[in-house]
Amino acid sequence: MKQVLVALVEDKPGVLNRIASLFRRRNFNIESIVAGHSETPGTSRITIATDEEEHLRRNIIRHNLLKLINVIDVVDVTDRPCVIREQALIKVRANGSIRGEVGDLVKIYRARIVDVSTASLIVEVTGEPDKIDSLIEVLTPFGVVEIMRTGKVAMIRGAVNSSDQEEVIRWKNGNGRNHKQAKK
């Protein structure tokens, strides 16, 4: 599943709460939500993965998000060429004898071992969610102690800013808010 919305929001207290609360009360499901600073000071970019497959329903989510005063823009990147990545830390039960075996698998997945103790090690992996699922699957027989996944982050390919790309399309369609005017 890769239904993903990317939101640009004002970096203000409670914004994440407003977004999460909106998903809850409108009965939309969040698969993962990741927030962090954007390229513009005072704003954050949030990647929201949802299981809503229907485009029109996702558009309603998008417009509801846009209604939040602190949300500057929301792009549905589901049907766009984009890079989607996730990171995971996977703690595997592994003593001396099988460390080498785990190490080989980790190399195939271009992951890294970032911590070793006598009975376990921690694998760090970055990639498409499918790849992480697959690595977890092959590590499971060794005994997976703990998994921590970050959730998806997404970015549209090419030299466009996610928000600007949307602006161009919106401008062409004349739908939604008129950013060119608003930005002066």
């Binding site: 004002e10 409670g14 029109l56 846009l66 005063i69 004349g174 008129n178 950013h179």
Partner: protein
């Protein structure tokens, strides 16, 4: 002087900013955490009138009623904790009906915030789903700008309630006050304006090509000031109109193209017109379940145009062919020149046949021994001026008002539509009376809803609010009883409700009181009541088992209405 820098307390800044926003009336109730603001009121009481309510819910409904009557932002004020929580019903009501309102609440001091301090409630958290936006003001320096933003957000775009929560220490903190004059900077908030040329062209193609077009006129027609433009278009193109409950006064009732209200208790002819139309032009309405009935069978053979200021309403309930997110008045002005003059006699004749069928079962023609709510409401309509304001509560009387009161002028009806808040009507009428003291205002309420907020009689008397209260007393929670009769085997669980002796209640509050239980007494009593300035209470004792017809059961096909049985078949 006006813009010179002064050292002011946060509490004074609140009033300074309200004055600059043009606020003349504030509805509120003091308490511990808002005391500094109330202490500062004395210096501003020559410019702002504070109305002391009897319960904070009343303050919120009054601010809402004031806002709907005046078109200005209504202001309610309360203390922290219980005071703030009591505002929530009013905020939710205003949110659903897009009523611009600013609620100001006191909060516990910032140093104990989050510690479950006395009378602490996370009110910004609690109100998240029922406010358009909210602020918790953590430092006094941001206060003036927050208030300015709050008013701007409340009244623009799709209007709604905005909450400002101010901790007590922020009210006491002193800062250099200068009213901000720079443009409001909200990077994520840009209300839409007009339609694109492509959208206009698409709309015109559909309208000019339609044989059976129908306009659905909602609250947005009134709120965006699009009424005249809409009338011009429908007259030019001979397009009939049906209205929502909140759009009931968006077109003169006597207008030949007005089919009246649609939906669950709408006119049968209007619902048939929706189902039979080949083009629906939805203006400033949101396809609420109470107007659509079952979505699968809703207006099955029509193309649909939807114009709304709120993008999230487009394609939400009903999928449409052309969705325009813009200000309605602007869009109508854009399309008006391109709408072709045309007669649609055949379509109107079809509708007329449906209308004639409906009039046969008009309850006003019925002989009855007891008084009927519909007769009372019709009489009120016939006896008061066109510009009088009607404020209704929620239930059977509300639907009867919508059916039997003819609104000729815009902004003559205030009612709780989306949330259906019982207890709304009376306080909202009091609030509305502060817009224009000389205006005739009638609160038409049921005995159930009135008892929810009748303590506001105290406010009405203290302020000598010019509100005439018409209680349609049937001794039941009538609409709930109607559902029980129709869908729960007439099992009247907890719907019979007693009332106090309303004449004694009126006497206790020092208000003229009348009781009417015969048809011939309605008119003389109305005439008598109208001679009094200030609050008057009239109890109309009506038939207990009256039903509101027609009715589309919830979730049923819109054209499958339960109709009033013919008089020969059964008595009322």
């Amino acid at each position: 002087m006006a813009n010179s820098k002064r050292m002011l307390k946060g509490a004074e800044i609140v009033w300074e900013c309200l004055v600059r926003e043009g606020v003349e009336t504030v509805f509120g109730y003091p308490g511990g955490a808002i005391l500094p603001v109330y202490d500062a009121l004395a210096n501003y009481s020559d410019r702002i009138h504070h109305v002391l309510v009897r319960h904070e819910q009343g303050a919120a409904h009054m601010a809402d009623g004031y806002s709907r009557a005046s078109g200005k932002v209504g202001v309610a004020m309360a203390t922290s904790g219980p005071g703030a929580v009591n505002l929530i019903t009013g905020m939710a009501t205003a949110m659903m009906d897009s009523s611009p309102m600013v609620c100001i609440t006191g909060q516990v001091p910032t140093n104990v915030l989050g510690s479950d301090a006395f009378q602490e409630t996370d009110i910004t958290g609690a109100t998240l789903p029922v406010t358009k936006h909210s602020y918790l003001v953590m430092e006094v320096d941001s206060l003036a700008n927050v208030i300015r933003e709050a008013f701007y957000i409340a009244r623009t775009g799709r209007p709604g309630p905005v909450l400002i929560d101010i901790p007590k220490d922020v009210q006491n903190d002193v800062t250099e006050f200068e009213y901000p004059t720079d443009p409001i900077d909200l990077p994520g908030y840009h209300p839409p304006e007009k339609a694109t040329d492509e959208e206009v062209a698409a709309v015109l193609e559909l309208i000019n090509g339609a044989d059976r077009p129908l306009v659905l006129s909602g609250h947005g027609v009134l709120m965006s000031g699009a009424r005249d433009a809409l009338i011009a278009i429908i007259e030019k193109a001979d397009i009939p109109v049906t209205t929502t409950l909140l759009g009931n006064d968006s077109l003169p009732h006597s207008h030949p193209l007005n089919l009246g209200m649609m939906g669950m208790h709408g006119n049968a002819s209007a619902n048939h017109a929706i189902q039979g139309a080949d083009l629906i032009i939805a203006c400033g309405m949101r396809f609420d379940d109470r107007v659509t009935g079952k979505l699968k069978t809703y207006s099955p053979n029509s193309r649909k145009i939807h114009i709304d200021i709120d993008a999230s309403e487009l394609n939400k309930n009903v999928r449409v062919d052309v969705a325009i997110n813009a200000d309605l008045a602007t869009v109508l002005a854009q399309i008006k020149p391109g709408v072709k003059q045309r007669k649609r006699a055949e379509w109107l004749k079809t509708i007329q046949a449906w209308q004639e069928d409906a009039t046969q079962r008009d309850v006003l023609q019925l002989e009855s021994e007891t008084l009927l709510g519909a007769q009372v409401i019709r009489s009120i309509c016939e006896n008061i001026p066109d510009d009088a304001l009607i404020v209704t509560d929620v239930g059977q009387h509300q639907m009867l008002e919508a059916q039997y009161y003819s609104h000729e002028q815009p902004h003559t009806l205030i009612t709780s539509g989306g949330l259906g808040t019982m207890g709304f009507g009376f306080p909202a009428a009091i609030g509305a009376s502060f817009h224009r003291a000389d205006r005739e205002i009638w609160a038409i309420v049921g005995d159930g809803g009135f008892q929810m907020t009748l303590q506001e009689l105290g406010t009405a008397v203290q302020e000598q609010a010019n509100v005439k209260i018409a209680i349609i007393n049937n001794g039941y929670l009538g609409m709930v009883r109607q559902w029980q009769q129709m869908f729960y085997n007439a099992h009247y669980a907890e719907t019979p409700i007693s009332s106090p002796d309303y004449m004694k209640l009126a006497e206790a509050y020092g208000v003229p009181g009348y009781r009417v239980d015969r048809r011939e007494d309605i008119e003389p009593t109305l005439k008598g009541a109208r001679r009094h300035k200030g609050p008057v209470l009239i109890e109309f004792v009506v038939e207990q088992h009256e039903m509101v017809y027609p009715m589309v059961p919830a979730g049923a096909d819109l054209h499958k209405m339960i109709r009033r049985p013919h008089p020969e078949e059964t008595s009322v």
